[in-house]
Symmetry: C2
Subunit: 322 residues, 2 copies
């Protein structure tokens, strides 16, 4: 029997599944729990008793905990835990950290595919017409539509989402290029380094940003990057808002230097109602919903319980990040 | 050298490609040509001289033509040529007819996939919010989104579009069922007959109508059909508008007996601005653009020229319908 701390809060049914799945352990609930993954939870003294932490524990407390063996995050992003000192401390103490990226790869990949095809088939243009003059612009909208075959898609951020999106795009016969800090040669798609990516960026029809937030990725997509895009290129962000210089993106859209943008993440979130991104031309925004789906909470619980079984049997954990 | 009649009209560049491709033959242009594939062209006396007809020839003239060997249509649909007497006459005289379905299978399949994923990822809901209160309804929209894996997709109309759409849907791990008048057992997906389809329809999450217009398909999707759908099911039409009882569809949407509809075809077209389909709840319409793409006219020309080469070399033609 292990002491299992959580500050994750789920609706009744996933909660029942979670509680049944951990019933052989001692469950310690944080005094303040949160159903919103992206909000920082406060410190909780009970965390210090636990061997396993599930949810979004306070970072500073992770340094203090003496019994901790394993931390499982309920998010795919882990910016606040992405610290050299935390990694060092965990390694010294033999603590592992896992995240929920497996849970979010599938919806995020499907979301990105939906955005790409939304542009290709001009769904928003048709919807605008449906909501206005209903002009049945048959000839014009057909001419603005395009086929995906032969289009070049460049993926920034090499991980579970990029891999799954590559699988979904494969039957559309696109040209896929990945960008990775240090390509190793065993990637699932042709991959170039951060030294070589610009020549590929210049040829891309679709630029997919899946970068996590970090000091290195901050404003990675800046004015210079957008200047390298073709005027017919589309930009997508399903990574994090801070990786984009949003003013540079707005300017590129306003000056028609790129064809359009579809963003699932912004900086800040929620995006203020008067923010100019909302009304930039050909800029469409989904409110950080790329990873969401009806059974998402069951997905998070099942992923944790799978890892718990692996932890009990001393197998490798899925989505280990430390 | 063959006499090649056409009433198809293309923009300058595809026209140049067409003229270069047929330069070894005698080109006879109709007195009235049409760049709009879906409009009936008038009779043209010159058709009677031709051995090959490319475009949308007048049906009655096809019975009279004494030299004709091959008719190639610039559309995928061929309702006005779908007549037993024409088939009989062509067979007796050894005339073949081909259409352009290969050209349209790819964009139509991509369009259907875009519609399906548009619902799955709630892109229109997010766009409505972007254009209104910008409320960042993170929790609600995530909960309304769904994953495609395990969803049941039923395809009515067994042909090039259904085959290509099946390929695009495969990596999403959906359950595919085709419906065909007389399944032969060699279909590319599990296929049921018109006698057995209802039990599958009742389980379907996505009902995709790719039926062509014909006497048998008229109002095929009627009130009884919509009553068989699950309240969470989505209905799509990329076939022909006449195959749907539109008033029954509107009623099903108004009474929330289905979750939504995405239509690329309606009856009539253009759909009058005050038609109730435009404002039916969760009903989205693209103005017959599913088959369109920027290079569509090149696609039509290339497909014809490929068949012309086959005709010259007495090979089998692509997309033969008679």
């Amino acid at each position: 029997m292990l002491k299992l701390w959580t500050n994750a809060e789920f609706p009744p049914e996933p909660t029942r599944r979670f509680e049944a799945g951990v019933s052989s352990h001692e469950l310690i609930r944080a005094q303040e729990s949160s159903s919103l993954n992206l909000i920082s939870a406060p410190p909780d003294a009970r965390l210090l008793e636990a061997e396993i932490a599930f949810g979004q524990p306070d970072v500073e407390q992770l340094f203090e905990s003496e019994r901790l063996k394993w931390v499982h995050l309920t998010t795919a992003g882990y910016t606040k835990y992405d610290r050299d000192d935390l990694r060092e401390s965990f390694r010294q103490r033999g603590i592992v950290m896992t995240n929920s990226s497996s849970v979010y790869a599938e919806p995020c990949a499907q979301h990105a595919l939906a955005m790409i095809l939304g542009f290709a088939r001009q769904l928003i243009l048709s919807y605008d017409e449906q909501r206005s003059d209903r002009a049945w612009s048959y000839v014009d909208i057909r001419r603005r539509s395009f086929l995906m075959g032969g289009q070049s898609v460049i993926l920034y951020g090499y991980g579970a989402i990029a891999r799954r999106l590559s699988e979904l795009l494969a039957p559309l016969r696109v040209k896929l290029i990945g960008v990775r800090r240090h390509p190793r040669g065993d990637e699932f798609i042709p991959t170039v380094s951060l030294e070589d990516h610009v020549e590929w960026l210049k040829q891309a029809d679709h630029v997919i940003n899946i970068l996590p937030a970090s000091a290195q990725s901050h404003n990675f997509f800046d004015a210079t990057m957008f200047q390298n895009l073709k005027p017919t290129a589309y930009f997508y962000n399903i990574g994090r808002g801070t990786t984009v210089d949003q003013m540079a993106l707005i300017q590129a859209l306003q000056e028609s230097r790129i064809a359009g943008a579809y963003l699932d993440v912004t900086d800040p979130e929620p995006l203020p109602v008067d923010h100019p991104l909302w009304s930039a031309p050909n800029c469409f925004i989904t409110p950080h919903t790329a990873g969401g789906y009806d059974a998402e909470m069951f997905g998070l619980v099942d992923h944790f319980l799978d890892n718990l079984r692996r932890f009990e049997q001393q197998e490798d954990l899925i989505d280990q990040i430390i």
